[in-house]
């Protein structure tokens, strides 16, 4: 129930007491309330829950997280290669 689904804002309608708009969930369009994401504009991604945008998705933070994890993956792959190299017969240092 606490499902929050990322969606892209395609239209904002500021008339009426609630700031409403349309968002696109990868091809499916839906009317949602944008009252609590006043900083978000058309093209921005928001997190939608029960017909309300509850937060804006920060693209820079998303990229930063993925970069961090890619570095971790690269380091881990390098470590695996080292270990394999050490374990290969003949690769041991002479004792």
């Amino acid at each position: 129930m606490c499902l929050g689904v990322p969606a892209r804002i395609t239209e904002i309608r500021d008339e009426g007491p609630l700031r409403m708009g349309s968002v696109d969930f990868g091809g499916v369009s839906r009317e949602v309330c944008l009252d609590w994401v006043p900083q978000a504009g058309v093209g921005d991604h928001v997190l939608v829950h029960a017909g309300f945008a509850i937060g804006v998705i920060d693209e820079a933070e998303a990229q930063q997280t993925l970069r961090l994890l890619a570095e971790l993956a690269a380091a881990s792959a390098a470590e695996d290669r080292d270990r394999e190299a050490r374990q290969r017969p003949g690769a041991e240092p002479p004792s």
């Binding site: 129930m1 929050g4 990322p6 892209r8 990868g26 309300f52 509850i54």
Partner: protein
């Protein structure tokens, strides 16, 4: 879908798991509070990739599961009335009450409708001035702002035929209750990312400090969850107990101020019954007196409701993270999502449902 697929990348998940194996030295128990995360964990099989000694305990973060039986029975009593259109989030319809469920009420002619948003329920009230529209306002902090906005909107529109039956619960009280229980084994929490999207994480700082537990704000994709576990284990191994944010793309420290204002306007914090857990101090929200005209439990006579819990179901123990579905004699037979005996088998966030759906039968978890 953007912001979902990238956070499912198996190579990156594998790298985080590898790092977890390098980091985890001692055994630990980490609880993911949110049932949405439980489902993601069981679906992706993340729990089977963990280093030995690292256990995930599944928490009570399933709104449908913790809605008190009494409230559910009240819902059915109200939904039976011929003058009422009863509206609810879909999951709630199949939850067994003391005597049947809301689907049964509908089958007997009750006007029970599923809505996607509380604003849809308000619209129904506008379109049906001769009927009473009642919205079953259940949920955690994630949903509280939307539920609150329904009554604000109803007042703006001058609607006299709209009320809500509220069961709003809040996570921090439940965390404290779990940590204070004598049989607690939880050493760290993954905090629910979407609760924190609304509330931020400031209220967790005193819990982390007072109970000495790391709390990591965590998202819902496999990569988010693996990373949340890794950060929690790093803290445990280093002897730290801090609040950390592993869902940076969505969650900020103060949370969403507009959504919080909506909640505060309509609700006040107070003690709340959580089904399976009992009364939790400051465990939920109640309509403020100024909004009591929108309280369905006051508008309709629900005094005859006498809740009777199933004698078999051990959902309470499961919600506390003390037992697993396989410990229940009714798991998979006769209790299934089509014929549930307890709420944890119904909901897409319930642990029994996740274990059933992803084939974690008895033999597997033993």
């Amino acid at each position: 879908m953007k912001y979902m697929d990238e956070f499912r990348d198996p190579t990156l998940v594998q790298a985080v798991i590898a790092e977890l194996w390098r980091t985890a030295v001692r055994p630990h128990v980490i609880m993911e509070i949110c049932g949405g995360q439980t489902h993601a964990i069981v679906r992706s099989g993340l729990d089977r990739l963990l280093p030995p000694g690292l256990t995930l305990a599944h928490g009570p973060g399933c709104p449908v599961c913790v809605t008190p039986l009494e409230t559910l029975d009240q819902a059915m009593a109200i939904a039976c009335r011929p003058d009422v259109i009863f509206t609810s989030y879909g999951d709630m319809l199949r939850v067994p009450g003391s005597d049947g469920d809301l689907f049964g009420v509908r089958a007997r002619g009750g006007d029970v409708r599923v809505v996607y948003s509380p604003l849809d329920a308000v619209r129904l009230a506008q379109e049906n001035p001769a009927r009473q529209v009642v919205f079953f306002a259940i949920g955690f902090e994630t949903t509280a702002p939307a539920n609150a906005t329904s009554v604000v909107q109803a007042r703006r529109l001058g609607l006299r035929n709209f009320t809500i039956l509220a069961s709003q619960v809040c996570v921090p009280g439940a965390m404290r209750a779990i940590l204070s229980s004598p049989d607690n084994r939880v050493e760290a929490f993954l905090a629910a990312g979407h609760v924190c999207t609304v509330m931020g994480w400031r209220e967790y700082t005193p819990i982390a400090r007072e109970h000495g537990v790391p709390i990591v704000v965590t998202g819902f994709e496999p990569l988010d969850i693996a990373r949340g576990i890794l950060l929690a284990v790093k803290q445990l191994e280093a002897g730290r107990a801090e609040v950390e944010n592993a869902y940076e793309r969505v969650v900020t420290e103060p949370g969403n101020p507009g959504a919080q204002t909506a909640v505060r306007e309509v609700f006040r914090v107070g003690d709340r019954v959580w089904r399976g857990l009992g009364v939790i101090p400051d465990g939920g929200l109640h309509l403020r007196d100024e909004w009591s005209e929108f309280d369905a439990a006051k508008r309709f006579d629900v005094s005859r409701v006498k809740p009777v819990e199933s004698p078999i179901c051990i959902a309470g123990e499961i919600l506390k993270g003390l037992r697993l579905p396989a410990d229940c004699p009714a798991f998979d037979d006769p209790c299934t999502p089509d014929h549930p005996l307890g709420a944890t088998m119904v909901s897409a966030e319930g642990t029994c449902n996740a274990y059933h759906r992803y084939g974690r039968g008895r033999e597997e978890t033993e």
